[in-house]
Symmetry: C2
């Protein structure tokens, strides 16, 4: 986490509830100011222009004061002053799903990207679902095989937007059998904390580096700090990896985690954003 950040983050494992109590999306709006919230939906990840509109209607329905959709498609647009201004005036920014490489390919290093980071440091809420969740970290997973034996060949990594430091997020986690690929990331650098988020599940990260779990599934935390051995340097691309002494936690709603101290927090207040 950046030293200066005062904003919250809501990082969603995809397929969040949009027709029931919408607990995750409500949390985002609440953190962004509820009835006073001015939200921006960034649908860059998706090629479908409707994906931003779906969230606009939902957020209006759930009580947001204002919602803008920025369907930024090209790098030139990501440097337009009007988009930068919209971002600066937002109390919450929501990244839709799609392809995380579109997010970083279009936004990476742009004026809009810098403005988003400044907004976050100034107190705005940054949220992302699916690809939008993956893009949050400094180094992100951009692809990899599901239901696969961990090896180097099954993953691709790239620089992300950098909101979340020292963490690699993976989404649709249980539903797509992705622990193999997140363990492969960790074998490359056990310093990284792996956070696998199930569908309809999210972590709500507060400025004090604590996240709480919300939604209907679980968050898998893979802590490599105690890893005693990894064969990543000597193994070939397709050779199965060895990795020993990973600390694993499965955390459902009501549980939290201190990212700085790498510690599970029990019975975290479900109503309090912290």
């Amino acid at each position: 986490m950046g030293e200066k950040a005062r904003g919250h983050m809501v990082i969603i494992g995809g397929a969040e509830d949009k027709s029931g109590d919408c607990a995750i999306l409500r949390e985002f709006i609440k953190l962004a100011g509820g009835r006073d919230s001015r939200l921006t939906v960034l649908s860059t990840a998706s090629e479908d222009p409707r994906s931003g509109e779906v969230y606009r209607s939902l957020f209006v329905e759930l009580g947001a004061a204002e919602v803008s959709v920025l369907a930024v498609r090209h790098r030139a647009e990501a440097n337009q002053q009007q988009y930068v201004s919209v971002s600066r005036e937002s109390s919450g920014i929501f990244f839709t799903g799609g392809d995380q490489l579109r997010i970083t390919g279009v936004l990476g290093g742009s004026k809009l990207s810098r403005a988003l980071l400044e907004s976050y440091h100034g107190g705005a809420v940054i949220a992302g679902t699916s690809a939008g969740a993956s893009a949050m970290s400094e180094t992100m997973l951009v692809g990899g095989s599901d239901d696969a034996t961990p090896n180097k060949e099954i993953i691709r990594m790239a620089p992300g937007l950098g909101f979340l430091k020292e963490v690699v997020v993976d989404q649709h986690f249980a539903q797509r059998g992705r622990i193999g690929r997140l363990l492969a990331v960790m074998a490359h650098n056990p310093y990284i904390l792996g956070v696998g988020i199930d569908e309809d599940t999210a972590i709500s990260v507060s400025p004090d580096e604590i996240f709480k779990v919300i939604g209907s599934g679980t968050v898998t935390v893979l802590d490599g700090k105690g890893v005693s051995h990894s064969n990543v340097s000597e193994s070939g691309m397709n050779n199965p990896l060895a990795l020993t002494d990973v600390r694993l936690h499965i955390l459902p709603r009501g549980y939290g985690y201190h990212l700085g101290q790498r510690q599970v927090l029990m019975h975290i207040n479900k109503e309090d954003p912290r």
Copy 2:
């Protein structure tokens, strides 16, 4: 592991190589005496009568001295003296895949089952693939959802054949995204060691409680000895489970594990059965 056991076990995650170098099946034959081996294939798990024949041809081709197929289908047969005699004279017994409940439903408590355990204690090799692997433990997984958030509803357990104590084996592990269901087992009793075996991968267990990994994939070891919290007693059937401080190891070929001491062994001799 039984105190008296002098035999080895070869527990296979299913889909083992049958057309290439057949490393796993060769290991079984080697442990059972190579050119002097007298093998029995138990195809009880499968409803397909050909499944035993496939292994008979393979084992003969790979150099076994004698191979019998026992397609035991009913409990009455499992008490027939002639089958018991075949089992007693075998240096290796191989359980095919299929449905582990057929194995225990037909063999459980029978004369044949007792004879198999005696053979194992006397030095015979016991091997099983897929369902035949699951059936090896005292408590076995008989079913459960793949690619699922860990909760109590996703698994079914039952008493197994009891060759392997204090361990629950799961198979087709990475390929079917089964870590959620094995973690759900562990949440029920963290005392259990969870061993998830990928396809074309096996553990070769020696009488001194050490296994080595063979084959092309990895073995995932989940050690719950240090688990600090599980919500299994207070959560509902469909509620996601919480489980903290599981120790996880990913072990490919060349690595081993001491089941008694719960310790990873590096660079275990690939050629030596131990």
